[in-house]
């Protein structure tokens, strides 16, 4: 059985603000309320920025600051049109950031692990990033044969976008590649495919 409780499968717990951080940047792949995304908003030391993907052309990604209420840290919200819009601004932001920042991401696994990769490339340590899965369980699948990443896979069997191979989607997850491993299903008996089940909704 290739789909199993394999150890590389990430385990997530609900996000909470790291009290040791001096600035906080929370990223979400959907317009969920900040308090629904993360605990400890009202106890945070330092400003919180909340960036989310609104998936609509009616937003422009500009900062919408909120005056700090009472003793709470100031919060600034930015709504982005799409993932590339958010990632583009995030790269700029991380290039200018200083040690003391904490990054948080909440969303589908494809999203949070793309953020993890970007954060690592920007020099963030594991201790400075917290990630939590929310939403669909669909997977990004890495074809071990042609190295193509196929996003948004919901079934146990997927067609590789690169080489067209029918891949068994394994539970073996790579943090480095931000994807689940996919191996050719009919490698030993060409054309003999197991039935595809919708597992990752």
């Amino acid at each position: 059985m290739l789909v199993s409780d394999i150890k590389s499968r990430p385990v997530y717990s609900r996000l909470s603000i790291d009290a040791a951080g001096r600035r906080h940047l929370v990223l979400s792949d959907a317009p969920r309320p900040l308090e629904a995304a993360i605990d400890g908003v009202h106890a945070a030391a330092g400003a919180i920025d909340y960036w989310f993907i609104a998936a609509t052309s009616t937003v422009d990604g500009r900062p919408a600051p909120e005056p700090a209420a009472g003793k709470d840290a100031p919060i600034e919200r930015r709504a982005f049109r799409a993932l590339p819009h958010l990632l583009d601004r995030l790269s700029h932001r991380l290039a200018q950031e200083t040690v003391g920042l904490r990054l948080y991401s909440v969303g589908e696994e494809g999203f949070i692990w793309d953020i993890a990769r970007l954060a690592r490339d920007a020099g963030l340590e594991e201790a400075e990033l917290r990630s939590c899965h929310a939403g669909s369980l669909r997977r990004t699948v890495f074809c071990v044969h042609c190295k193509t990443r196929t996003p948004q896979v919901t079934t146990s069997l997927a067609v590789c976008e690169g080489c067209g191979a029918h891949l068994v989607v394994r539970d073996h997850f790579s943090r480095g590649l931000a994807a689940f491993m996919g191996v050719q299903a009919d490698a030993e008996a060409p054309g003999e495919l197991p039935p595809a089940e919708e597992l990752f909704r």
Binding site: A20, G21, R22, R23, G46, L94, E97, T98, V99, G100, L101, R102, A122, G123, L124, E125, E126, A127, E128
Partner: protein, 316 residues
């Protein structure tokens, strides 16, 4: 564990100040010295009559140049013999036995920038760091704290380094650090080496500015292994009872009794010398055991730790 050693010949011994002396050591057989990396130290076996001192010194020369190794020795005021011996008795041409270089203070290869904070003679590992960073082109910044009267000595030691990266703070000028720690780009790692108070203050400041533990690195030298109340160590498996004197470390006493005990750094950092305690309560002075392990009183690092009880029974 009997550590492998190598003989080194003193090629030059040069006073830098009344208390600092630089030694250039070459392989006694005329070949290349053993490879090492930035931050590595050398443990010299210094024989003074019947006494053997095992003093560790950071290698200050570039690890890429294996024609020699250089160290700088500070003569401590209450020297137990090692640094006084090097300052007074060791002359060019002498051959000294040394352990192979070991590194308990390595550079973090994934760091984007290296921020170094040193105090006094704690500059030594950073001289090798700087050579490596300059060769690799990695950004770095050094803040060195020293007494006013020693400023010129450290300026001379750092004279070859790019001026914009080196900041020497003489006298009581620790305050500048908060501003620098608050402005470091993501991916910066902090290294500190020097007096315990300076290192603790620097790390505490960094933590308060949001630096996670993974970015903080420090090397303590000396201090930890200083003596204390005498006690009896019972080596259960060897069936021996040994006296640990006020100026002797537990590890030295075990070795003097002829028992082969595990060890590596002899500074309470590496964890090699850890031994099970069957009876008695250890006085932990190491940097290796975690809080739970300390509280359990089941383990001891023989190189630096001592006993709170008159007797300590060890599984050795």
């Amino acid at each position: 564990m009997s550590a492998r050693t190598m003989p080194l010949r003193v090629a030059a011994a040069e006073p830098l100040s009344p208390r600092l002396k630089a030694f250039t050591l070459v392989a006694a057989d005329g070949g290349l010295v053993h490879p090492s990396g930035p931050g590595a130290h050398l443990r010299l076996l210094l024989r003074n009559g019947a006494a053997v001192h095992r003093n560790a010194y950071s290698i200050v020369s570039s690890p890429d140049d294996r024609s020699h190794v250089s160290i700088i020795v500070r003569r401590t005021r209450d020297s137990k013999g090692g640094s006084a011996l090097l300052h007074e008795a060791v002359k060019p041409g002498d051959v000294i036995e040394a352990g192979l270089p070991a590194n308990l203070f390595p550079v973090v290869r994934t760091a984007r920038k290296h921020l170094m904070v040193s105090g006094g003679i704690g500059i030594t590992p950073f001289l090798a760091y700087i050579a490596a960073f300059q060769a690799a082109g990695t950004p770095w910044e050094l803040h060195h704290f020293c007494r006013i009267e020693e400023r010129a000595v450290f300026e001379a030691l750092l004279a070859h380094a790019p001026a914009g990266r080196v900041h020497i703070h003489a006298g009581n000028a620790f305050g500048v650090l908060a501003d620098r720690l608050a402005r470091q780009p993501l991916g910066t790692h902090l290294y500190s080496c020097g007096p315990a108070l300076l290192m603790e203050a620097g790390q505490e400041l960094a933590r308060s500015l949001g630096w996670p533990k993974a970015r903080l690195h420090s090397e303590s030298f000396g201090g930890a292994a200083e003596g204390g109340a005498p006690f009896i160590a019972v080596l259960r498996r060897s069936n021996l009872e040994i006296e640990v004197g006020p100026q002797t470390s537990l590890l030295d006493a075990i070795e003097a009794a002829g028992v082969d005990a595990p060890c590596l750094c002899r500074g309470g950092a590496c964890g090699q010398c850890v031994v099970e305690v069957a009876e008695g309560e250890p006085e932990h002075r190491d940097h290796f055991l975690d809080d739970d392990e300390r509280a359990s009183n089941r383990l001891i690092m023989t190189c630096v730790s001592r006993a709170r009880t008159p007797r300590l029974v060890l599984d050795l």
